[in-house]
């Protein structure tokens, strides 16, 4: 193999790479939080069968699930640009991720809700609980356990997909890597380091998520 590795170039730029990794984390966390809020609304809209809302929710979910993430990002960036709506690369990637997260999480939430046997509801009711109490103490806590893992996976997915920021010039981890490697042309070194960083980030997320779940959910479901 003729290729000689020059690692020192990469290490010199470590602060910038770490900064990129921070942006990656940042955009994924935000995309997740906003996605959750919207997904809750969409899931409620879908389950209530109130026509116009249900329709909007369905269209949202189906488009999000059935088109590539890359397409969403282009659409947010240049597609909206054609209407004079100018999103910065950060906001474009963020809104595409929020859009998709919301779409997938809607179904997760709905599934989680429906997976709670209706007998839990009647049993709680038979104890004299009001509907709000049933949700507060019985349905939602159980639902949270069931959607916790899918949500973690969605979060990891967001982290990985934010790497598409490279294609709209966003300075997250991949974009930063691309920029830095073009200065010195040390492609392999930079992308290897980026790959390792992604791996570490996702593993850290998964580990902390399972630690958290052990604290949150003591009984099994």
């Amino acid at each position: 193999m003729e290729y000689e590795f020059h690692w020192n170039v990469v290490f010199q730029t470590m602060p910038e790479l770490l900064n990129g990794a921070f942006v990656t984390l940042h955009v994924s966390v935000l995309a997740m939080l906003l996605g959750i809020v919207i997904a809750i609304l969409l899931a409620i809209a879908k389950m209530n069968n109130s026509k116009p809302f249900c329709y909007v929710a369905t269209v949202w979910v189906e488009i999000a699930r059935n088109t590539p993430a890359l397409f969403q990002i282009y659409m947010a960036y240049f597609g909206l640009g054609a209407f004079g709506i100018h999103l910065s690369p950060y906001v474009a990637v963020l809104s595409a991720l929020v859009f998709i997260n919301a779409g997938y999480l809607t179904e997760t939430f709905r599934g989680g809700f429906q997976s709670i046997p209706s007998t839990q509801y009647s049993a709680s009711k038979s104890l004299g609980m009001t509907s709000i109490q049933v949700y507060r103490y019985i349905i939602l806590p159980q639902m949270l356990r069931r959607i916790y893992h899918p949500m973690t996976n969605q979060f990891v997915w967001s982290i990985l997909m934010s790497s598409l920021g490279i294609l709209v010039g966003m300075s997250e981890l991949s974009g930063t890597t691309q920029r830095l490697q073009s200065l010195s042309f040390r492609t392999l070194e930079f992308f290897i380091v980026a790959a390792v960083m992604y791996f570490v980030i996702t593993k850290l997320v998964l580990i902390s998520s399972s630690l958290l779940s052990r604290r949150l959910f003591k009984g099994e479901v």
Partner: protein, 217 residues
Amino acid sequence: MNSLFTPLSWNDTGFILTGVMNTVTISVVAIVLGTLLGLVVGFTRAESSKLVNTLFGGVLDILRSVPLIIQLILFSTFVGAIGYPLDPFVAGSIILSLYTMAFMSEVFRSGFESVHQSMRTSARSLGMTYWQTIFYIRLPIGLRAVFPSWLGVSLSVIKDSALVSVIGYMELLRTSDQLISRTQQPLEILIGVGIFYFIISYPLSSYGRYVERKMAI
């Protein structure tokens, strides 16, 4: 001097169709190879010891925890650097297939494991051999059980195939990117692309959910 910007015209149909065909081709290749490899790996994992599983698991984990786009760039650069440059289609197919395999193997593994131990035992009690149990009982039942998940992974592969554009494969999204540069009409072109993915993906994903619902009953 040539004009730089020319609007979309019927001339471009062939060009777009090539992009469409390329997207379809690489998706099909990745799904087929990913499924076959995934079957083998999934079966091996379902049947083998913890140690083998951990080893396999580690490799699969890497494929699942590094963004596809980085894998594509790294792989295609790396094979070139060691002196075996690959055509974007070949390099893209390899990585996309491996990536697919990583997800498919989990799907099939759970499929194999979903066939209850008692059902395997009752097949054995009829005098069937180990392999007969696999081919007549576990494979058909397991595959049926995971069909919706298989379809789900396949659809995400079709969507993820858009990323192969980064190593220069002229699939649909890269084709349209080029047209956008020339025509400066991003909206029309992007909407067209979106519709294309949607009409492939939507009916299949609806069907998958339908099957899933039917199986749940």
